[in-house]
């Protein structure tokens, strides 16, 4: 030990909750470094939505008419915000799998034996998963341009649209994190992390106009926050909305409903997750 010459460390004293953001960012940095070290994972998480764009644009595109827009490429204009919404929703799956993996590693014991803010592991995970969507959205945007999609409104509106998408990504990441804490192993997390995402993204206006659904489904789809998100981004990008006249309340106020449901969902699922994390970790 005599070779160690460093002065005694000065731990900056402050109540631990005061470190929540700091510790969350430290863990987020760790998760993002992992992303860089396993580029294959990032690659495939980008390839998947790109394939969706191509499939929907060229396979389904001709078969789905968009109310109020008869242009030949109307469906592609309509589709892209839907793909954006679906893609950011799938950020939840990586939170589920990532946390399930973390919780079964020796590393979690070290985290728990450190004087760090308890929610930091969860905040770091959700932040990193949402941050990764920045790159995914960038690549998707380029793909959209290639298939003829256009941003028709101003830059500010576009930035606002992307901000809503990232807020939504962060929201579903918390739902995914909460599910991840209940997973007995990472393999189960792989499946469970995805199952709920398919109905959630398809029972919406992401790929088809609401009017084409049976009436009872229209109610579900209208109140599905992803519909409001997708509608809000369509409006902000200046793309066809596919809306008829008989609108539902959430779809009359898509921006407000998106932000409000994100705030409520984050509040609910972060509380549930932190509680669950503490319970699992201190039996």
């Amino acid at each position: 030990m005599s070779t160690l010459t460093t002065a005694t460390p000065v731990a900056m004293s402050r109540p631990l909750w005061g470190w929540t953001i700091h510790d969350g960012l430290v863990v987020a940095r760790r998760n993002l470094i992992q992303t860089v070290r396993v580029p294959e994972l990032l690659f495939f998480s980008i390839v998947q939505p790109v394939i969706f764009v191509l499939l929907f644009a060229y396979v389904f595109g001709g078969a789905i008419p968009i109310p109020g827009d008869t242009a030949s490429d109307a469906y592609r204009q309509y589709l892209m915000p839907g793909i954006f919404g679906q893609t950011v929703a799938f950020a939840a799956a990586s939170s589920t799998v990532g946390l399930a993996e973390d919780m079964h590693k020796g590393l979690i014991d070290r985290f728990r034996s450190l004087p760090m803010a308890p929610p930091a592991v969860l905040i770091g995970r959700t932040l990193a998963d949402a941050a990764r969507q920045v790159l995914v959205l960038f690549v998707l945007t380029l793909t959209g341009f290639l298939v003829g999609w256009r941003i028709n409104n101003g830059l500010l509106d576009a930035i606002y649209a992307y901000a809503l998408l990232l807020l939504f990504a962060y929201t579903v990441a918390w739902i995914g994190a909460w599910i991840g804490l209940y997973m007995p192993n990472p393999e189960t997390a792989n499946t469970a992390g995805l199952v709920w995402l398919f109905p959630m993204t398809f029972l919406s206006n992401a790929f088809v106009p609401l009017a084409s659904l049976p009436t009872w489904l229209q109610y579900i789809a209208a109140w599905n926050p992803i519909s409001a998100l997708v509608l809000a981004t369509r409006e902000l990008f200046g793309n066809p909305t596919g809306m008829g006249g008989d609108d539902f309340w959430p779809l009359q106020h898509p921006q407000f409903y998106t932000v409000a449901s994100c705030v409520v969902l984050i509040a609910i699922f972060s509380t549930l997750s932190v509680r669950r994390y503490r319970r699992t970790t201190s039996r």
Binding site: M1, S2, T3, L4, T5, T6, A7, T8, P9, V10, A11, M12, R14, L16, W19, H22, D23, V26, V27, R29, R30, I33, Q34, R37, V38, K105, G106, L107, I108, D109, R110, F111, R112, S113, L114, P115, M116, A120, T281, S282, R283
Partner: protein, 334 residues
Amino acid sequence: MTYDIAVQAEGLVKDFGEVKALDGIDLTVPRGQVVGLLGPNGAGKTTTVRILSTLLKPTAGRATVAGFDVVRQPDEVRRAIGLTGQYAAIDEYLTGRENLRMFGDLYHLAPKYVKERSAELLEWFDLTEAADRPARTYSGGMRRRLDLAASLIAQPSILFLDEPTTGLDPRSRLGLWGVIENLVKAGTTVLLTTQYLEEADQLAQDIVVIDHGRVIAQGSAEQLKDQIGGDRVEVTVADPQAIPRAVEALAAVSGSEAKVDDLRVSAPVSGGSTVLVEAIRALDARDVVVTDLQLRRPTLDDVFLTLTGHTAEDEAPPPATQGRRGRRRGGKDA
């Protein structure tokens, strides 16, 4: 931080449902000492360490670490301790240096300190060359060293080492022992769990033997060896027919009864190596041809066998009492 007793546990009980992992553990580790927690798999070693390092809450009993209550003041305890578990608790995608930086940041240490301390630890643990490679490329021994380095980033005054050398090759094990000895010289208090008697003997001043969640013996290695009687003279005869004569000879030398095990005959003695000469004379006088003759000091293995009825490396035998089914479920909680 002023305390003389680094770790104190009183009547620690831990139930996992029906399973009683700890059944009233008392433990005292004086400041600056190394105490070895010795026991077979499933004895409750890891559970004890997990409670003391705030990872688990005890069902009953209380414990203080560095003067702080592990249940009521976990944050204070966490600032004082370092923990190295059975499984390397490092991020394998991060490099060695990034790992140390992350843990230093999470201890809320000044960034400049973390940088210098990391470099120092990497050097000290012979990881400088590998410092900027992801930890998943490390060998088992390197991971363990990085793990230990991580638990030392904040210079903890109390270190918990849970089976630190399990799974290491003999050379790495010796290296780690050297590291631990150096830490202790510098004043660190260490609570070490192990199932290797040799390791407890080598490192710990005080050994606490636990089995089935209870302390069954405590003392220095020497004291524990004395508990089962001192030295024995042991002779191996060439011809089974000579056994009765060998028994007679050894009984004459030792003054108490000799024990027979196959071709080996042994008896407790005192008086050090001069008894060997007496034994040779007594055997020779009875025409016993011996193939081996030795004075055997009891090992901790003998101690363990005497205390528990099984050796340390064995799995604990199935508990006799009802309601303890599956107590070894999940080796991690053992």
